[in-house]
């Protein structure tokens, strides 16, 4: 066996490299024009004398990632140095958008978790009486303010517990309770409105002045007033006919307005 093919192919590749490094004028016979033309004998496995025959014909026998044997074949990139990643410290700092949406999760941009003292700075939640006069748009906005505040409190609580900053759980819970009171109030008001609407629909079904079919005018008020006010008007009309001026009592007029409403 030839010496080059006797050793491991990777070692053979090393020999080839050294031979190609030798200048031409010193040893013209050693230089090779095509370095891989003799690849076939290089790939031939060396066999020891009297070794048992191994006929599994496995081409990749002896290659092991664990033992770092490398490939049996020489690749075009075999001698290229592997690129090394830059250390984390040398990388340029990441620029964070000051208007990034995730800042909304923080009660405090410096410490992330709000201190108990800051958490205590809150009033009471909105009461149902105060919310009754608000429009749906206002209530909806307020709901989302509450949702975000709860997220902020939860983020602060995670940070406080994970970072083992210290006390402050009860203060955060107190704040959360007030927010939940507001949310409960919003739902209360909306439920009230829904019930009122349901009742109104039920009344409208029997009301001849209201048309729920969706065609034409939904509300056509009657020409004459009903009840006492109507009777008074009739009386007034009669009195006018008779030529006597009757001053209507103010109470009756108020009652008539109430009936109209």
């Amino acid at each position: 066996m030839a010496t080059a093919s006797a050793v491991r192919p990777s070692l053979g590749a090393a020999f080839r490299l050294t031979s190609s490094n030798i200048p031409k004028r010193i040893s013209p016979s050693l230089t090779q024009t095509s370095p891989l033309s003799t690849a076939a004998p290089l790939l031939k496995r060396h066999t020891y004398p009297n070794a048992r025959s191994n006929k599994d014909m496995s081409k990749s026998r002896g290659q092991s990632a664990l033992r770092r044997t490398g490939l049996r074949w020489r690749l075009s990139v075999s001698d290229d140095p592997l690129p090394k990643p830059k250390p984390r410290e040398e990388l340029p700092p990441v620029e964070v958008d000051p208007d990034h949406g995730l800042w909304d999760f923080f009660p405090n941009r410096e410490t992330v978790a709000a201190s108990p003292e800051d958490d205590m700075k809150h009033g009471r939640g909105w009461m149902v009486e105060e919310l009754r006069g608000k429009s749906w748009e206002d209530l909806h906005k307020l709901w989302w303010v509450c949702v975000k505040e709860r997220n902020r409190i939860a983020t602060g609580a995670w940070e406080r517990e994970r970072g083992r900053l210290g006390f402050g759980k009860s203060e955060a819970q107190g704040r959360d309770r007030e927010v939940r009171i507001t949310m409960r109030g919003i739902k209360h008001v909306l439920t009230e409105r829904f019930y009122a609407w349901e009742d109104a629909v039920k009344l409208a079904e029997n009301d001849p002045e209201i048309d729920l079919s969706g065609k034409g005018r939904p509300f056509t008020p009657k020409e004459y007033l009903e009840g006492e006010a109507a009777e008074e008007e009739v009386l007034e009309f009669k009195a006018e006919e008779e030529g006597e001026a009757v001053v209507p009592p103010p109470q009756g007029k108020a009652q008539g307005e109430a009936a109209r409403l």
């Binding site: 700092p93 995730l102 999760f105 992330v112 210290g166």
Partner: protein, 195 residues
């Protein structure tokens, strides 16, 4: 032109992540917390603790519409705690699991440094908190194996006991007429063979 028309039309790429659900939710009542990333986590990843019923699409929608945060992908996993029991002989139960989601952000986001300064930590009464934690841990240890009573020599000598013993030793030395050698930071154990 006719040949051009016969060519199959290339479909425009569907922007999958631009599509959102059609069901409108007006009053969602979920609590989503943003968690501090692990030290080597990329700034393009943000971790959230979400309710168990949340799915990836929900979080994507939530972040986009409530916070204006664009995401490219979302990963999710559930942290299942170990079974616990309240008392030593109480029934075993499984604490509620916590769902976590990691969102890949379009805009990177870096957290502020964790609070390490002693002065800043005073806001949370950190010193007292640490002491209490340590005591609680010791109590738990005692409760776990009540039969194991530590030896007196293994226990830390209280400060008042130590000072009394030092005073006594000094008196003994003076009585013997020896020079008083002050040894700082020595406990009972080392000093006792001197007697």
């Amino acid at each position: 032109m006719s040949s051009m028309k016969q060519l199959p039309r290339i479909a425009e790429p569907v922007q999958r992540w631009k599509r959102f659900g059609e069901k409108q939710l007006f009053l969602p009542n979920h609590v989503v917390a943003l968690l501090r990333p692990k030290p080597k986590q990329s700034p393009n990843l943000a971790t959230f603790a979400v309710p168990l019923q949340f799915n990836k699409l929900d979080l994507r929608d939530y972040l986009q519409h409530a916070y204006g945060v664009e995401t490219t992908a979302i990963r999710s996993f559930i942290n299942q705690p170990k079974p616990e029991r309240k008392n030593k002989n109480g029934p075993w139960y499984r604490p509620r699991a916590q769902k976590m989601m990691i969102a890949e952000l379009v805009k990177p986001f870096v957290w502020p440094e964790p609070v390490k300064d002693e002065e800043d930590l005073k806001q949370w009464d950190h010193e007292m908190f640490k002491k209490l934690q340590k005591e609680r841990r010791e109590q738990e240890k005692k409760q776990k194996n009540p039969k194991k009573v530590p030896l007196r020599t293994k226990l830390a000598v209280p400060d008042d006991v130590r000072s009394v013993s030092e005073q006594a030793r000094e008196l003994l030395r003076q009585a013997k007429g020896l020079k008083v050698e002050k040894k700082e930071g020595k406990g009972e154990k080392k000093a006792s063979p001197d007697k």
